[in-house]
Symmetry: C2
Subunit: 446 residues, 2 copies
Amino acid sequence: MTDAATPTILQTRAAASAARRAGKQLASLDAQARTALLNELAAALEDPERTAAILAANAQDMAAAKQAQAAGELSPALVARLGLDSTKLAALADGLRTLAAMPELLGAVCLRRELDDELVLERVSCPLGVLGIVFEARPDAVPQITGLALKSGNAVLLKGGSEARGTNRALVELIHAVLRERGVDPACVGHLEDRAAFAALLDCHEDVDLIIARGSGPFVQRVMDSTKIPVLGHAEGLCHLYVHADAEPERAAAIAVDAKASYPAACNAIETLLWHAEASAAALASLHALATAGVELRGDPASCELASAAGLALTPATEADWAAEYSDMILAIRQVPSLTDALVHIERFGSRHTEAIVCTDLAIGERFIAEVDAACVFINASTRFADGYRFGLGAEVGISTGKLHARGPVGVEGLLTYRWLLRGRGQIASEYGPGKRPFTHRDLPG
Amino acid sequence: MTDAATPTILQTRAAASAARRAGKQLASLDAQARTALLNELAAALEDPERTAAILAANAQDMAAAKQAQAAGELSPALVARLGLDSTKLAALADGLRTLAAMPELLGAVCLRRELDDELVLERVSCPLGVLGIVFEARPDAVPQITGLALKSGNAVLLKGGSEARGTNRALVELIHAVLRERGVDPACVGHLEDRAAFAALLDCHEDVDLIIARGSGPFVQRVMDSTKIPVLGHAEGLCHLYVHADAEPERAAAIAVDAKASYPAACNAIETLLWHAEASAAALASLHALATAGVELRGDPASCELASAAGLALTPATEADWAAEYSDMILAIRQVPSLTDALVHIERFGSRHTEAIVCTDLAIGERFIAEVDAACVFINASTRFADGYRFGLGAEVGISTGKLHARGPVGVEGLLTYRWLLRGRGQIASEYGPGKRPFTHRDLPG
């Protein structure tokens, strides 16, 4: 089977190649036309007639998912995230309108420089081209990612979770209808219905410029290992909250609970709480609040001792707990003798995603910021703020823990690259240089 | 040998890990300290006492290279590029001073946004960390790349051509002496002396953030295929010059000669000239000028016919010529019936590096710019301008044909990434959202 192209492989190649062509058309539309597309898609998501098929498909997906849940094959959390209703659709429409209203980044001249008289260089932003995006069950991602793609002028091939297949298909059909109504080739938003199609896409390196992978760590790692196409994503989200000696107990407890219990499966949720040896009041307040919120706590000996003296029983943590991404209502707790020890722990176990400190002396916070190498570093704020919507990026296609291109929450800007344009009147390079004609290198107003 | 770590592997791992530590120290220096380092390195390169060892080592490398040239093992062009003298050292010193005087990009706040009262988000630029750079024989690259690394706060591990090994070693020793004089750990500029060491570096993905590969296409491709570390570079430089129907013959000829003959081995030199069927005067002027400059011309039937009618004999081109990166004094010539056909040819054979048009009607030029997808697209200017120094970036570590991160000539900015910093007073994410507390998302002055 390795050499023979299956029908799925052929179909996927055709979809990628059609997306390449359709993407060029999309990128050639002006800002007004792409804004109109976003607003019309928003209106369509609020039109009961147009969304009837989506809600019907979602009801079917939900029924199947509940059966699977009853059989123990799907978690209740996953099933809950699968549901769509008119309120959720209205929120998605709102998101698209926000994106439509955001400043245009495509075609922006980031640099305009005169190299010499009548020789002007520009650096202009342009789309990456074709994006392949794989994401988990939540069907909300279909209009969100499509919105980011339309705003940035990129074609996109979407592979959602199999539990939401019917819903996703109906959402893509609505998107295609809106695109067709505006004369835009619907191939710029492609739908890959199964894993085999996505696997085939990973081989289409000529027609796909970027893969964005959202999902569990091992899954993202597998995607990264099986393609030559650059992959943006994060294989891990091991975030810490460090409670410094001078942290206010109430503030520490509130942030700890939010950072863990508000959405334990999120990649920006914390997995370990570190506390300074002199912060026992703040640590204890945090442990009580976390336990009350239903979080299972696993502590080092010092944390177990502190908790047990206050009548709270902790599970003893092992070395493996410091490296664990639970993605669940479990938190590791460790006492550290100093800020430096907290930094060493984070350097060793952190996944460079999001790290936060609670402190009163802001100079301590600035030292934390200066020394922690991660996509997001926060003082006195929950790690859960690490999110494209909360950052005001409109939305996000994912969070990158890589250092190249986009880092942290990735919105429209992360889906753009640039070209260098030079306009002259026949100048040649060998006339310039040391001892010859000098460059002016004068920056001009954009 | 695959499992046992050789002394070279152990040494390289130690160098990468020492570079990681030294890079953190370098990045923590303020702009003034890094500027002083660049200026002192410039002064050292102009100090006859300090450069005596470099010139002596270069004389030895040159003597060996000339023997190799006599034995037919090295090209005269490569030997010529190996030579260093006090004039070249002064030019390198000038380059470092220019870089020192350029605006500081490290630590720049690219975005400052209030999310809510006393909850302020910043996006701040920071170094990538540790760079591994492999380049060909020219020892000039050692101070140039070191300068870019010091300016951007990155540690660097350099692997130069084996012909320049002695010169490179002496240059790195001088750099280390300057670093030591300022109390900076010299491990932030490491020297890998042979291929085995560089091969070992490609496995150090924990301590190396980016590989920059400069060299022949197959070499860069081999590097890309043999590491998990992101690689920035270009495996090909297949650039075109398209001469439109209305091109002035003199302008076309001057650009064609500069774009090919001024430095045929450069990646921004053209490999194919395309000419519009109605541009026979401009094409003929170009062919004559190119032939006079000593360029071997390989034409399609229409080009051969045009040339032969004017008493110029062209070698017939085959299909393989359109895909050839000669990197030599050879140029393929092809007539195209229209601009659209030129665009199709470039789309099919171009390597997305640099593409140029010669035309009089600037609307035609703008159509070329709009439709060609390449890192650099030029109107009425030689492709040889695609260069960090000529673009006013101070210098370049390389040219990227990838679309992610840096595209085209890569200077200081391409060696930086960013972090998101959030400073609050204890805010938690679950207080915000639809129906809850709204974000202000107000951009603040940097």
